[in-house]
Chain length 282, copies 2
């Protein structure tokens, strides 16, 4: 597995690969890999001739009071895991390589980033859209793989690619969960044992909503009432939002007609976790 | 000369051309061609195998009280002029083709768009940066040619391409002027004869500034005093700004050390005109 740290070398590698007719799959990550990341890499591995993974803890997607400094990092561990899963190239630039001091261009996707996590993280998705645009231009992939766990991020990237006519196919992959149902996240590392136990209520509430949908419930109000009820019995969990949305526009629904996504965010102790469930009506 | 109106056909044409190893020069325009546009096309013609010109009056770069509706349009005239100058393909999409109703992504270049025209046209450069990003992704050029007449636009595009690591070479071409010195612009069409006469003071003031620089004047204050003096004797001209700036960052200068751009905007009657002069110290 090759490791590249400069943009110049990365662009040269991808240009050359494309000239030789190779297809490139790309998985952008912030590192500290878990099975969720590995599932994206395995999908990328199947899809294209070359698999490139970026490892970059992007400062511009963290708010001023968020966990940029303490976000977990372990390059050696990540390097080995990427190699074992068949990654061809790990792109791991420094922040000052990506953002020189005169950097001043941002990409913003407007409607789909306003609600859900966008309300409490007003600059987060602008940071994501900008860095993903930069990475797409540097890595020049044919296919890019993202997790459905960060559902609003996936919708934002899809909308951006469509609006700006970028030539990249976006693949969304199902959330990978622990045996007990907890969605895998690098931030689960922050949870103490009793918090981890409390965090299971997130998935439990989503499963309850799914059960109601399967039984034919179509009133969003009723579903949300049951779901929020589950959190009331968990003193360690403070809900930020639970919403039932159109999975393309992320607009709030009051009545369910077709596919929906039930998305939620909650603080478990000091740690902010997100999860979601996609329900397809057919 | 081929004419294409849909994004899908345009992308297919450029993909195929690139696969066959052809290089593409691109001149984005809002049409109503004059010698300024043609000089950009001639340069593009020399640089690459294929020359593509886009003709699109981009609604998002006009403010609510600006001249989008009355902006001059003459497709037949433009088509003929493009053909005569050796354009291979004219890309002329409709606004609803470029901006479907759910379009919501914008590209913003921050520092260099704040001053100069950015103060009175706060959303203009966001509209420009967004449409140029879209056009670059659709047309996939190797080289794109812009006029130095729209100097802040040129700086904005250069900064955007650098920040987002786009794979396009940006060429800036000198302003083309009428015999009397007036910078060519599609908006000159709006000028009545007495206004056209008054508009000559714009270039006259820039030439006076150049003269002072050539004589060794290095105090910006003194240069601006003389330049603004010239406009005071023109009752039809209302100056918006005259500034002496660093030509890369567009920051205001008080003392001249290296290259500078003297940029100005003024209303002549109801018509807003811009002009500039680049002074290279060596």
């Amino acid at each position: 597995m090759e490791i590249i740290k400069t943009i110049k070398e990365m662009k040269a590698f991808s240009s050359k690969a494309r000239q030789r007719g190779k297809t490139i799959a790309f998985v952008p990550t912030m590192g500290f890999f878990h099975e969720g990341h590995l599932s994206l890499m395995r999908e990328g591995r199947k899809r294209c001739d070359l698999l490139i993974v970026s490892l970059f803890v992007n400062p511009t997607q963290f708010g001023p009071s968020e966990d940029f400094q303490k976000y977990p990092r372990d390059f050696e561990r990540d390097r080995k895991m990427a190699e074992d899963v068949g990654v061809d190239l790990l792109f791991a630039p420094e922040a000052k390589e990506m953002y020189p001091s005169d950097h001043q261009t941002v990409v913003r996707v407007e409607k789909v980033t306003r609600g859900l996590c966008g309300r409490s993280r007003p600059t987060h998705f602008q940071g994501v859209a900008t860095v993903v645009t930069m990475l797409f231009n540097i890595v020049m992939p044919h296919v890019a793989v993202f997790g459905e766990k960060d559902f609003q991020q996936l919708v934002t990237i899809r909308q951006m690619v469509k609006d700006l006519y970028m030539d990249v196919e976006i693949l969304g992959m199902p959330t990978v969960r622990e045996a007990d149902g907890l969605a895998m996240s690098s931030r689960n590392l922050y949870l103490r044992p009793e918090e981890k136990q409390a965090a299971l209520s997130l998935y439990r509430s989503l499963k309850r909503a799914e059960e109601l949908l399967q039984k034919g419930e179509r009133k969003v109000e009723k579903i949300l009432k049951e779901v929020t009820g589950i959190f009331l019995s968990e003193p360690l969990v403070k809900i930020d939002y639970v919403q039932v949305c159109n999975p393309t526009t992320l607009e709030d629904l009051s009545e369910i007609e077709r596919d929906v996504v039930i998305a939620l965010a909650a603080y478990v102790g000091q740690t902010r976790l997100i999860d979601n469930l996609i329900y397809r009506s057919c």
